[in-house]
Each structure stands twice: as C-alpha cells, then as structure tokens.
C-alpha cells in the first residue's frame, strides 16, 4: 500500500480533531444569559402572578359560595371566611404559593443586580438594569412584608417581626428575618437608588417606569404615614402619567362588549402584576364580591355596572346579594395587583386629607369620580373633618382598587388607627336554610391579619419565627 493512501485514509480523523467548537451549541428558543443586554432583558417579565388565596376571604369586600363552607372541610378559605381564630393556620399551610412566587421574582431581580456587573456590555445599560430590578425588588418586598408581618406602625416597626430580606443572588443563603422597619428601609433605599437612573418610557411595557417608581414611593410613604413625602411622590408620579380612563364615556359607547379595551389601551396601568395571571379576569367568578361592597357601589357606578354580574346561578348563590367580575381580559384589561394611576390619585387624596387639606383631597377624589359615576352625585362635597374626608377616601379606595392586595393591606393599616379601625361582621349563610345562620366577627387586632409562614419555609429555615402567636408543631 502506498504511503499517501494511508494518510488520505487518516485525513478525516485529523479534520475532526480540529472541530473544537463542535459542542458549542446554543439550543434554538433558548438563550445563554451572558451579555448586559441579556440581563437587561431579564427585567422584562410579563405574567407575574401573586396568588391571594392565603387571605382572599379575610376581607370585607369578598364573599364565598355557600357550598364551599357549609359541610366543607376546614381549609384556609373556610378559616378566613369564618374568622376562625381557633385554628392553627400553620397546619393548613403546607406551602404558600404567594410567598414562593414573590421570592422567585426577587431572585430574578437579584440575578440581574448581582450578575450584570460582570457581564460584557454598556455601563449605562448595567446601571439601568440594576435600577429597574431594584424598583421591582422593592415592590415584591413591600407585598411580602404587608402579608406576613404587622402593618407599619411607626411606634413598633423597629421591633415588629418582618420578613427575610433577599438582597443578592445566592441559592445557598440562609435568610434571616428582619424587622418591619428594616424591610421598609430596604424598600425605600432600593426605590431611592433606582429612581435617578430609571426611564420615563423604557424599552417595553414590562420594564418599570418612573411613574411606577414614584407611585410606589408614594405608597410606601403613605403606609409609613409620611404624608408629605407621599404627596410629593404622588404628584411627581402624576407628572409622568395622570391619565384616567373615562368609564362614563365608555358606558355611552356601549362598554366592553362593544369596544374592547385590551391591556395596551388602558392608560391607567403603571405595572402588570396579577393575582393569578394575565387572563385572570376571564375567571372572575372565583372572586365574588360581598353584599356589602355591592351595596356600596350603588346603582350609578360604572365600575360596577360595566363589569359585574349578579344573576348567574352558575356562579352565585342567588339571593345572597353578591356579584362577580364578568368581563374577560380581552374585553377590558383590569389590573389587580399592579399599580395604576387612580391609585396614585387616591394616595394623593389621602395625603391631602391627612394633612387636613380637605378641599384638595375631595377635588382629587372627584377627578376619579367624574370618570366613574354615570349619574346622581358625581362630585363629592368637602366635609368638615379629616375623619369624614378619610372615610370618603377609604370608600373610594374600596370601589376603585378591587381585588388583589388592596383591601387586605388597607384593613391592616387602618386597623392600627382607632379612628379608622373596622370590626368586620358577617352573617352567613344567607341563602342556605338547612344550617342556622351565624354571625362571624373579625376584630381589628385579630391575629388572622398576619399570615403565618408556611411549613415548607419553616422547615428549611429553622431559625425563622412566626409573626403570630401560632405554634409550629414540628419544631
């Protein structure tokens, strides 16, 4: 055999040895997050769900089907709806999907905040990515601390047990619990560090805007009872977005069944977060409003008239005076958990009222009401006292900020103030006559308002203590 033939035969072997890059395959549809741009894009995260099932029925605005309680097993829903303080809720909470989701999102923001600096790319984009991620991290911590801890009480916040602060990407971390004040300080620091670098009109709707950051700042100040700062921040936010969607005109056009308003067309939206997901309002029958709230709406409120159904026997106990949101998200995009401009107005109104600028407060409320009330008393008249004005604000908040965390958080914080504390009373069942009707009472200082950490967290973090007086049986 001739020598050159031998080498010819060996040639493919040598060729293939040189294929060093052979295994460098990036799968289609996937992305190795490496560059600054990749990290910046991670900030955009649609369809974030913040399930409210740990406390959905704890509020006076919500109601439940009678068959879910009468003769049913004692679930968290039943405990919450019947204000049952005897039950040790830890035993019912194997895990809390809200808790796990919120920290999962925080982990995403931390991925950006911790890792973007080491990536290749534009420095200003790194700063922007970190700023946006911090704004969102502040929002998630805000929700968490208000669910699992006592509402902010300036007198006790420094000692009230809060939640774990997650300030960097670290899957091996052993988180420790901070006080309510520490958490609020962390939230404020994040917002304040974020605002100088954020944009008015970012790359896509899921990047947080300046309007969002200022509104969040206003909300945090409001919850801390720092009304002047809340007012300033709210006004600042309104300079970026002060649009209110006119439901009165919309009613005349025929409403959602005639003119659909999809997400992009609702100008009030400041951020996109949900109780379950973007299409949650398609299944609005899982969120039944109480007879009390239904009554509160009256007959001329477009917020009720356009969206609610009170007659479907499929989803309601006819005769209970309840109603459910009956408009799918493609017909009208209704944000539940995220912030919206009307909330900014309501923060502003409350700040004015607290500062005893009652005229400004009511004028602010009326800006919303002219776009909501179709007939009768549109413009409220200025009352004599702060307390009266505040009650008007609270009432308007109940009607404007439906579902999500809004009423739960409001009840928690107002209950700390004697003037606005509320004892919720429920008579149930209304329709079913086979069992005797009972009266359930939820006192303002009930431990139920603080949701205990779930078992999965308590088991993995033995140092974590509850913010309520419930016992952890497995410790």
């Amino acid at each position: 055999m001739k020598t050159y033939i031998k080498y010819l035969v060996l040639l493919p072997a040598f060729l293939s040895w040189s294929c060093k890059k052979y295994t460098d395959v990036v799968p289609k549809g996937s992305l190795l997050v490496e560059t600054t741009k990749d990290f910046y894009e991670l900030v955009s995260y649609p369809n974030r769900g913040y399930p409210i099932n740990n406390f959905q029925y704890l509020v006076d605005d919500m109601w439940i089907r009678e068959s879910s309680v009468v003769g049913a097993r004692k679930t968290v829903d039943v405990v919450n709806f019947t204000f049952d303080e005897t039950e040790n809720r830890v035993n019912l909470l194997g895990s809390s999907s809200f808790y796990n989701q919120a920290y999962k999102y925080i982990n995403r923001w931390n991925t950006v905040i911790s890792l973007v600096d080491a990536s290749k790319g534009d420095e200003s984009q790194k700063t922007l990515a970190k700023a946006e991620a911090k704004a969102l991290r502040a929002f998630d911590h805000f929700l968490l601390v208000n669910v699992y801890a006592k509402a902010y009480d300036p007198a006790t916040a420094a000692t009230d047990g809060g939640i774990c602060i997650m300030d960097k990407y670290d899957l091996e971390a052993t988180p420790t619990k901070s006080t309510v004040k520490q958490v609020y300080d962390f939230i404020q620091k994040d917002i304040d560090e974020a605002i100088p670098y954020m944009e008015v009109q970012p790359a896509d709707p899921y990047h947080p805007t300046l309007a969002f950051a200022w509104a969040l700042k206003a909300k945090v100040h409001l919850f801390k009872r720092e009304y002047a700062q809340a007012r300033e921040a709210a006004l600042k936010s309104l300079t970026y977005n002060d649009k209110i969607f006119d439901l009165v005109a919309y009613t005349k056009q025929g409403g959602p069944n005639v003119v659909p308003i999809v997400a992009a067309n609702n100008p009030e939206v400041l951020s996109y977060m949900y109780m379950t997901g973007y299409n949650e309002m398609n299944f609005g029958y899982s969120y039944i409003i109480s007879p009390e709230l239904k009554t509160l709406f009256g007959t001329n409120d477009a917020r009720y008239n356009l969206f609610f159904n009170s007659t479907s026997a499929s989803f309601l106990d006819i005769g209970s005076g309840t109603a459910y949101f009956n408009i799918g998200y493609l017909k009208f995009f209704y944000p539940t958990v995220g912030l919206k401009t009307t909330e900014t107005y309501l923060i502003l109104a409350e700040a004015y009222a607290r500062e005893n600028k009652l005229g400004d407060a009511i004028a602010t409320l009326n800006k919303i009401r002219v776009n909501r009330i179709t007939s009768g008393t549109v413009n409220l008249t200025v009352p004599a006292t702060t307390k009266e004005a505040m009650n008007m604000v609270i009432e308007e908040r109940r009607k404007e900020l439906l579902f999500g965390f809004n009423r739960f958080f409001d009840l928690k914080r107002f209950n700390l103030e004697a003037d606005y504390a509320k004892t919720t009373v429920r008579k149930f069942p209304i329709v079913n006559k086979t069992v005797p009707q009972q009266t359930y009472t939820l006192k303002p200082d009930s431990r139920l308002y603080i949701i205990p950490f779930a078992q999965d967290v308590l088991k993995k973090n033995p140092g974590l203590t509850l913010n309520t007086d419930e016992t952890i049986l497995f410790r």
Binding site: M1, V9, S16, P27, E41, K104, P175
Partner: protein, 1207 residues
C-alpha cells in the same frame, strides 16, 4: 457416540472464527440405510479436481461422511478419473488410489488415515485402546501419534485404535479438535495392552468471541463481565420482538412490564442507578458498533445474529457518559462464506382476550343494590329529592355534574313521572344487563398478528451481502385497531483490496397504526347495567353518557340538562353507542425509520488498521385523526360551544358544523461519526507469548429533534378538504358563555415549539495485554464533552475509565490435566461509567417566549439557574467473575459479583423558597447496587436421538439509597412517591406503610408515631375524633417494590426432529399492596362491596363511604388512605411464570431434500400458559401497580404457530 451427534456438536462451533480449523468436515446427514447404500451405484467424472472438491461431491451423492485431517489436503494430488456405475467402496478405492493416505470405512463414515509406515528399527509392541470423553462417549477420528515421530493413526467410529510403538519413542499423543492434547507415557505398559484415554474439552477454544462494538476479541483475552446470546439461543422460541428473545437469557437483565400493556417492556440491568427520569434505566443500545436511538422492540429480531450485554465497567465504560445503565450490543446478520442462504419465516400469533373474571368485579345486581344504598344515604342528607339533586346542576342553574341513569330513575320515581312498578320493571331489566360482558364480547377481539420474514444472504471472498424483508400485520384487542409494518434491511461488505474493506447498510421501517379513540378503551365508560346491544342484537343508543368531548373545556352533562335541550333543534344529539363511536375518530399514525451506515476499514501494517464509520438515523411519525361532524365528540363539542344571546333570543354556534382534523408530524435524527485505529498483534514464541490489542479513536455524535408540525382544523370537510377559520382569540384565549353554563374554551395547538439538539465529542482508547494466553490485563479510558454541560474545567475533561485483570486458570499446566475441570477463568474489573441528563446546565439559561398581552414582545423565561459544578453522573463498578466448565463441559456457566456505586447523581434538592427557587438539581445523590449473577448451563444427556438441556439464570440485587437531600414533609409523600422521597440506607422504591391498629365497629384505626390510635372511640364504639397521620416517623418500611432476585429456568428436550422447550421466569423478594376497595368513594365496583361491613358484624372488611354517618363522611377519605396504605395490605410480590412452552419439529433431511429445501421447521408455542404468584387472589404481579395496589388484566395467553424454511 455416533457421528451425527458428533457432527451436530461440531456445527455449533464451526462458525467460530477464533478456531483455526485444522480438520474440515464435509457432512450431509443422510438417513439412508447402509444396505441400500451398498446396493447403489454411482458415477463420477473428475478432471484435475482437488481432492477436497471430489470428496464433497462424493459425500453429496453417496451420503457417506468423511473425517480427515485438513493437513492431508495439502499433500493430496488432484484427481483425474472417470467412474461409472461403481459401488461406494469402488469409488473410494479409486479416489484414494495413488494418494499417500488410505481410508477405513465404519458404517457410514469414512475415516481418512495415513498409510502406516512400517517402522523398521527396534522391537515394537502394539497398544490398542479407546479414546473417550469424560462421560465415556467414544471419540472417533481422534489422532493418535507417537511423540517425536510424524506417523500416527486415527480412531475408528467407536473411538478405537491400534498403534505400533518403538520402546525408545514411548509417549503417545492424543489430539482431537476442541479437546486438550493428552500425553500417555508407555514406559510401564506392556505389549498388547489396552488403554482407555479420556480427553477433556478445551472450552477455551470453543467459546465465543466478545463483541463490544469497537472491537472483536477472543473470549480468553477478555476481563469484562458480559453475556452473549447467540442466534441459536435467540431463536429457541418464536419471539414477539427482540426484547422477548432476551428475556430470561441474561442474568441481571430484567424486563419490567408496563402494567397496562401500553408500552414496550423496560430493560433494567443490574438495578436502578439513577434518580433522574430523563436518564432513565434503559441500557445504551448499539447496532453493529454504533449507538442507536432505536429501542429493542423496534428491531427486527430475525435480522440479529447475536446480542451481547455489557454489564461491568470494563465492558461498557468505553461508551463513556451514556453507559452507566449498561450497554446492549446488537450484531446484525451477514452472509457466511461460500454460502448462499435463503430463509423464510412465517409466524402467526393469536392472543386471547384477557380474563376479566380475575378482576373480581361485583355483579350487575350487586352494583345496582350498592348504588341504591348510596342513593338512599345521599338522599337522607336532604329534606327533598330535588334539594338533593340541586348540587348536580342544570342549565342556568349551577355547574352541571353527571349523575347516573339509576339516580335519574329514582328522581323520576320521586317526582312522580315514573310509577313504582315502572321503576321496578326497569330495575329488573337492568339486573340482566352486563356491560362488561357485552363490551368484551363485542368490542374486544382476539389479537391476531401475522409476520413474514424473508432473508437472503450470500458471501464470497470479495463481498458479503445480507438482505431481508419483513412484513408484519395485526389486529388489536379493540375492534378497528390495526397495524402493519414493513421492514427492509440491507448490508453489504466489499473487499476492494486485500487491505481495504467497505461496508454499507441501510435499514428502513414503515409502520402504520390505526387506533380508535383511547378514551373508549375502558369498559368503565358506562354503568354496568347499560347495554351495548339489545336482545335483538341492535345497537342501543344511550341518551347521554359521562364522556365529554375533550376538545373543549365542556364537562359532562346530566339527565336534567339533557331534558331541556333534547327537543331543541339547535342542539345535536348527545346519544352514544360504543360500537358507533369506535368507528369514529380513528387515529392513523405512520412511522418511518431509517438507519444507514457506512464503514471503511484499512489495514495499515500488520496488526494495525484504521476504521472510519458513519451512521445516520432518522425517524419520523405522522399522526392524523379525523372526527366527522356526526361523531359523538364533535356533536358534543358543537353543543358545548353553543351560546345563547338573551338580547336577541338567538343561539350562537361558536364552533362551525363539520369535522375535526388533527395532524401531527414529528421527527428526530442523529448521526455518529467515528474514527478509530486498532492494533492486534502477538509477539514472541508462535506469536502467542505476548498479545497486545488496543484501540484509540474519536467520536462525534449529534442528536436532534426538529420542530414538530401540528395543526387542528374545524369545520373540516374530507371531500372538499376545506376547513373554517376560527376566531381563536374568542374561542381559546378569551372564552364563550356556553348555554350549558359557565365559560367554555376550545383547545388549540400550542403556540410554543421546541427544538432539541445535542452534541457530543469524545476521545477514547483501550488496551489489553495477554501473556501466554493465561494472564490478561485490560484498561480503557474515555473523555466525553457535551454541549451545555460541564462548565467547570475540573469536571469537563474528567475521564471515565476502567481496568481489569483475568486469569485463564484452566490453561495452566497444573490444571490442564484435570479430569473434571474443563474451563476456569477468573476475572476482576473496576471502572467508572457515566450518565448524562441534559436537562441541566452550568449556565444561566433562559427560554425566549412570546408575551400574551403584547404578542410581538419577546421576553426571557429562566429555565435553569446556573449550576457551575454540574458533571456526569458516575457509576463505579467493581466486578468479580468466574467462568467455568466442568465434567466435559456438561455443566458450564459463570458467576459474577458486583458492587455498583453510583455517585454524583442528579437529584432534586429542596431549597428554602426564600432564596428564590423551590428546588434545584444538583449532583448530590448516591445509590448503591450490589448483586450476584449466576448462570448454569447443563447439557445433561445427549445421544443420537435425545438431548436434554437445562439453563438456570439467577440474579440477585440489593439496592441502597446512600444520601438523601429532600426530606418530605408528610408520610404520604414517602408512600406515594417512593422514587422521589426516601430515607438514607433503605432500598430505592421502598414500600412504606401505616401501622394498622385494628378495627372497631367497621372503623379501622392506625397507630401514629407515638403508637397511639388515630381514632378515638366513645363507649359505643363510635369515633369521636379521626386524625390523619402525617409524620413520617409513623411509617413502617415493609420492603421494596423492585424485585430482589429474578431469573429463569429454561428446559429443552430434543428427540430426533422434535424439540420441546419451556421457559420459566421468576422474580421475587419484593412487595406489593393489596387492591383494597376505596373507603372514601362511592365509585367502587369490586366484589368487596357485597362483603363490606354490616351492623351484624359478620364482615372483617371496614365500612365503605356509604356506611359512614353524616358527621364522619369527611373522615372516610382519611381512613381510606390509611387503610389502603397500611401494613395490613402488604403482600409478597414473588411469582413464577411459564413464559412460553414450544414444540417444534424439523423435517428430516430426506424429506427436505425431496422438497428441494435444506431445512424446514414447524413450531407451535403457547406464551403465558401458567403462573404462580405468592400474593394469590388472581394477582399477576407483572401487570399490577404494586405501590398503588391497582389491578390490571393479567397477561393473556398467546398461541403461536411458526414455519421456518431454509432454501
């Protein structure tokens, strides 16, 4: 010992290439008797014909067999002679005239022997005797010679010989192929003595070669643990597929059945060594040297020459990161030199319907009584009947829930629309119905499968070609289920030059399956008292049934809802008959598989060769199902998607009228490219003293699953081939308000597609050294790299390696003489294999997704959080083995002991949710498998007519979970998911149970972790509190789900042309749960309902749900769960099965010759004829879900007829 047994013994070995045949045999079996042969006359005409050819021709015509030393042929002179009408002996005389050897006739055998030279010097003496094997059977044709001289004699047909010996050369040597040489010192032996010489078989030489896919090595040089199943063993029975051909033949290879028969058996070798579902347990499959994505059940068993199962690290680690589950190497058939062979097989399989009586269902009457009791109990909870029915809903009233016709009957009775007599009449009619019987009679049929296989092979020194065609068709258990398969296999090797060989092959399969809708497979579709056919045999259309369409989100309806729409022309009928529905919505699935490969081999210098191989595989499937507008499901979907506009009082049909066509095209492909240098050479004395064999090479491999193509069309018309555009936004994304209440959506094809591509690049080498054919050392190393894997350089190039040592003890001089020990080989190996799970990645990987609110917006969804320490799963295996053959190889086999330590296993580790992830996959788990494997093959008795052979295969495996990372919160997690939750130092898949305390008043109670009863009873025996038990401390470990031992006994008896064979398989040491009746549900059908608790206290069974008082009904499911998973319900899962018994008859040569065929074999076989199970109660552990305690039909019997013809 007769010639024919001798020859059949030879035929077994003649194909072995390791054998340097020095004796050639030409034989054609003839059964003509001698007298007749003597009277025959023959004519031959030879012209310079080599003696070899001449003998072949004479053999063919006369039927005599020749035995001679091949060396003689070298000296033989070519023949030129013409013989006319000569007798046999005249012919022989003529042929051997002038040659320097002569012959001796013994019956029908011609022994060619040298002309004994007259020994001239010194006094001589004669020695006579007989050469026998260790069982005393004569060995004819053995060579007897004097040591140091060239002369010698051969033994006659009785093994006898006589030889003259000079005193100075007084040592005799005895040789026979396949036996060890024997010396006899004659110093002390007197003249005319008779001696008896026992030759022991040289099993070493006779044994097989080892094929690992990279190289072929003679067994004596191998240190690895492996089992080869050759063609003969593969075809001992008629096999449904290649998997079943392997069953019971390889110690340590277990075939786990899919309990519902829904998928092929799952091979598991030496226990489970991974936690990862995406790694799985399946060994790597290799066809003709290259890894394939084929599974064993899709390979045509008739194309396979041999199967080698590589068990330990020394055998398998050359396959690197995919070999930890073991490797199965298939070698396809090829032509045999100078032989053209045509083989035809036809097989018919008939599988009976399963025996439903073994399911222990209650009778129709019992079920009606039970359901009546349930109705009464439910009714008692409400003040009025209509109150009771209110939660079942109606149109415009609640959510519609299905209730049975019996409930409707009682509802009608209560509201007065039916009289008591009418109700009673209906009930007594219903009692005579039996839906299951009608279903099994009319829907089921015997499964019939026909398989035809034709193979042609031909080989010459220049080329070697194998070609086969296989056609397979069958009908399934359910009517209208059919399948057809067509398989072509072609492989051809060309020897272009002395140094260059090329092989090209292609294997194509086309399969077409027609399946009816899977939802109709179960006879639970309708109530037991429903009918399929009426007394006259006409199909009964039931008004409504509890089956929804599955295309929309519409649920089942009930009688109340139906009554409101029945006469409404806007709605289509809800009527159902199973036989009608089985004609609808048939899914046709077509598969094509293609495997094509090329192999180029060049010899470079002596012992060194280069080999390049390429293989491409492609498999694609095309699925199509069509429901026409009149089908049950389309009518249902049409109704569900109908809404009513109250403003206009009009019905809106959101789903267009017409059919539904769904199509799905999927495919996958892969290629492997390998270059390899091989070196094989001996050095030293006879080039045998030192023997080296080594390979080194590289391999590139890509696997790819491209995008799937999927579509669904509504309003489809199969004639015009048109469909209607749908408003997907409304129908799917939003929803419509259905007339039947609530919002309904239409399911659509997912908008997300995936494509998976993986690449591997590997380098590998192995080497073996053998000294004097006795001592072996071997080693191998392989480094694999894969895409997206192993970011840390520390792990990236971590090699997988093995080392082994072997000692051929029986080749040692001190054992060579042993009378009873024929083969003893001791081997020990250690090495590391890998496994790969490519669902993990060391990088932060995101998936690109389209947003739903802003459809053009693309965002990144994080798929994996970075895990920089990701690495291969590793399995370190230590193997110690012995191969033995004793008593003239009457008894042979092997014993292997192994210890497999699997570490770095990918396990899901639970995290504190606060850190932002619930769990992550880490290389953190460890499993250990220890075991023993024993194979004993006994050829007990063998003579002219009879042959008894028994093979015992036994494997023992002990499996232990070594590290645990995720402790479950509840006891139930350990019970329900034993493969996810475990305690350290227990067997993987352990069976945990609650402690049964006892039963009071029909309420079972159980002991919690403190040994206290979970139920507190009052003085009257009524429970006051019922608690669940959730602490894992309360559990008892009852054993394991995977068998500790398994194996087989194969018994074969051959008499002349008949052969009777039976294969028993057994398995045991594991546990299963009894199939107890659910106490927390009214939906029960077991015959236990008739024996349940009663107030008289005569039953030892607990109360069912219906027997619970209202105050305790919510606790019934708690007690049911504890009851079902209590230690009381654990049974032994051991079983023995007669997997098959077969009888075959091979036509005599005489007959086949008349038919002009070379062999014909007829077989009849029965599969799954009998079984014994320790659990009893008609439980078939192979088709039983052991952990949930769920019974499925036991394997039905199959009757098989086979025909095999060789041309």
């Amino acid at each position: 010992m007769t010639i024919s047994t001798l020859l059949s013994g030879f035929r077994q070995h003649i194909g072995m290439r390791a054998l340097h045949t020095f004796i050639l045999l030409f034989s054609m079996l003839v059964l003509n008797n001698e007298v007749k042969a003597q009277s025959n006359t023959y004519s031959f005409n030879f012209n310079k014909t080599p003696l070899e050819t001449a003998i072949a021709e004479v053999t063919k015509k006369t039927g005599y067999e020749f035995i001679f030393d091949a060396n003689y042929l070298k000296e033989a002179k070519p023949l030129t002679l013409a013989i006319t009408a000569a007798t046999a002996s005249q012919v022989f005389d003529a042929i051997f005239k002038g040659q320097n050897f002569t012959y001796e006739v013994s019956k029908k055998t011609i022994i060619v022997k040298p002309i004994v030279k007259t020994i001239t010097s010194g006094p001589q003496y004669n020695i006579s005797g007989q050469v026998i094997d260790s069982l005393g059977i004569a060995i004819p044709g053995a060579l007897v010679r004097v040591k140091g001289s060239s002369g010698g004699v051969q033994t006659n047909a009785d093994g006898r010989f006589t030889i003259s010996v000079e005193p100075k050369n007084n040592t005799l040597l005895f040789n026979y192929i396949g036996y060890n040489e024997k010396e006899l010192d004659l110093s002390n032996i007197s003249n005319n003595s008779k001696v008896s010489i026992v030759l022991s078989p040289n099993t070493n030489l006779l044994d097989e070669v080892f094929v690992n896919g990279f190289q072929t090595i003679t067994k004596e040089r191998v240190t690895a643990a492996y089992t080869t199943v050759n063609n003969e063993k593969l075809n001992q029975h008629i096999n449904t597929d290649l998997l079943s051909a392997l069953e019971g033949k390889v110690a340590g290879l277990q075939l786990v059945k899919n309990v519902n028969g829904a998928a092929a058996d799952q091979p598991v070798l030496r226990g489970i060594g991974t936690f990862s579902a995406s790694v799985g347990t399946s060994p790597l499959i290799v066809i003709d040297g290259l890894p394939t994505e084929y599974t064993l059940d899709v390979v045509n068993p008739y194309d396979i020459e041999s199967v080698t199962v590589l068990k330990d690290a020394a055998a398998a680690s050359i396959y690197g990161s995919r070999s930890a589950n073991g490797v199965i190497v298939l070698v396809t058939k090829q032509g045999k030199l100078n032989n053209t062979k045509i083989t035809f097989n036809a097989d018919l399989f008939i599988t009976q319907k399963p025996d439903v009586s073994k399911m222990h269902y209650a009778s129709t009457g019992d079920l009606i009584d039970f359901e009546t009791a349930v109705y009464n109990a439910e009714r008692a909870r409400y003040t009025t009947t209509e109150n009771m029915f209110a939660p079942y809903g109606d149109i415009n009233n609640g959510t519609i829930k299905y209730y049975s016709p019996l409930y409707q009957l009682y509802r009608s009775q209560a509201n007065g629309s039916l009289s008591n007599d009418q109700v009673n009449n209906t009930l007594s009619q219903w009692r005579n119905n039996d839906y299951i019987k009608q279903y099994t009679d009319n829907v089921w049929q015997n499964e019939i499968r026909k398989r035809y296989n034709l193979s042609l092979s031909s080989a010459s020194t220049k080329s070697n070609t194998y070609f086969s065609l296989n056609y397979d068709e069958g009908q399934g258990r359910i009517i209208n289920n059919k399948n057809q398969s067509f398989n072509i296999n072609y492989k051809s090797t060309y020897n272009f030059k002395k140094w260059l060989t090329a092989t090209f092959g292609i294997n194509g399969t086309y399969t077409k399956d027609e399946k009816t809708d899977g939802e109709y497979d179960d006879f639970d579709l309708q109530e037991r008292y429903a009918q399929i056919l009426d007394a006259n045999g006409n199909r009964v259309i039931t008004d409504y049934v509890n089956i929804s369409d599955g295309f929309t989100s519409g649920g089942a309806i009930n009688a109340a809802a139906l009554a409101k729409v029945k006469s409404n022309a806007e709605f289509k009928s809800f009527g159902f008959n199973i036989l009608n529905s089985l004609d609808e919505g048939i899914t046709t699935q077509k598969y094509t598989r293609l495997r094509t490969y090329a192999n180029l081999q060049a010899k470079i210098t002596e012992g060194l060769s280069f080999n390049t191989q390429f293989q491409y595989e492609n498999s694609s499937s095309n699925r199509e199902s069509y429901y026409d507008a009149a089908s049950y499901k389309m009518r249902y979907a049409y109704n569900m998607m109908t809404s009513y506009n109250t403003a206009t009082s009009k019905y809106v049909h959101n789903l267009p009228d017409g059919g539904r066509l769904a199509q799905l095209d999927q495919s996958s492909n892969n290629y492997t490219f390998r270059n390899q240098l091989s070196f094989n050479r001996g050095f030293g004395k006879d080039k045998e003293e030192h023997y080296f064999s080594a390979i080194a090479g590289m391999e590139l491999r890509q696997t790819m699953i491209p995008l799937t193509v999927e579509s669904q069309r509504y309003g489809y018309d199969p004639v015009t081939l048109t469909s209607v555009n749908l408003d997907n936004n409304t129908l799917n994304t939003a929803s419509i308000a259905s007339y039947f209440g609530g919002t309904k959506t239409l399911g659509l094809v997912s908008r997300t597609q995936t494509e998976t591509k993986h690449r591997f690049a590997s380098v590998f080498a192995n080497a073996g050294y053998t000294y004097q054919g006795k001592y072996n050392i071997t080693g191998s190393v392989r480094i694999d790299q894969a895409d997206m894997f192993g970011g840390d350089p520390k792990y990236k190039n971590r090699p997988l390696w093995s080392a082994g040592a072997g000692w051929n003890a029986s080749s040692e001089d001190f054992l060579k003489e042993s009378k009873w020990l024929n083969l003893l080989k001791v081997r020990a190996t250690y090495g590391i294999n890998g496994n790969i799970d490519q669902t993990s990645s060391p990088y932060l990987v995101a998936r690109r997704r389209n947003d739903n609110l802003y459809p053009t917006l693309i965002y990144s969804d994080i798929v994996t959080l970075p895990n920089p320490k990701l690495r291969w799963e590793q399995t370190a295996t230590t193997n110690f083995g012995i191969d033995y053959a004793v008593f003239a190889s009457r008894l042979s086999g092997s014993i292997d002991l192994y210890n497999k330590n699997s570490t770095d296993l990918l396990v899901t580790t639970d995290l504190d949710p606060t850190v932002g992830a619930l769990s992550r996959v880490l290389n953190n788990g460890a499993l250990q498998n220890r075991g023993a494997e024993i194979t004993i093959n006994g050829n007990w008795f063998k003579n002219d007519d009879w042959n008894f052979n028994t093979t015992l295969v036994y494997a023992f495996n002990k499996n232990t979970v070594e590290t645990v990372n995720n402790a479950a919160a509840t006891a139930y997690s350990y019970i329900s998911s034993p493969s996810n939750y475990f305690f350290a130092n227990t067997a993987f898949n352990s069976v945990y149970a609650y402690k049964y305390g006892g039963m009071v008043n029909g309420y079972p109670y159980f002991l919690d972790q403190n040994g206290e009863s979970n139920v507190v009873f009052d003085a009257n025996g009524n429970p006051t509190t019922i608690k669940d038990i959730s602490s894992p401390d309360a559990l008892v470990n009852m054993g394991q789900l995977n068998p500790k031992y398994n194996g087989s006994v194969s018994q074969r008896i051959a008499y002349k042309g008949f052969e009777l064979g039976g294969l028993f398989i057994f398995s045991g040491g594991n546990k299963l749960r009894r199939d107890v009746t659910d106490l927390g549900s009214n939906d029960v059908t077991d015959e236990d309902i008739t024996r349940r608790w009663n107030s008289a206290g005569t039953s030892d069974l607990p109360r069912l749900w219906v027997d619970y008082p209202q105050s305790l009904v919510n606790s019934a499911s708690v007690l049911s769960n504890l009851w079902q998973y209590s230690d009381r319900q654990i049974l032994d899962a051991s079983y023995v099965k007669l997997r098959n018994v077969s009888l075959s008859y091979s036509l005599s040569k005489k007959t086949t010759r008349k038919l002009n065929l070379s062999a014909v074999k007829l077989s009849a076989q029965v599969n799954n004829l009998w079984y014994w199970s320790a659990a009893g109660d008609d439980i078939d552990p192979e088709t039983y879900s052991a952990n949930s305690g769920t019974r499925a039909y036991s394997l039905p019997k199959s009757f098989i007829l086979g025909l095999n013809v060789n041309f």
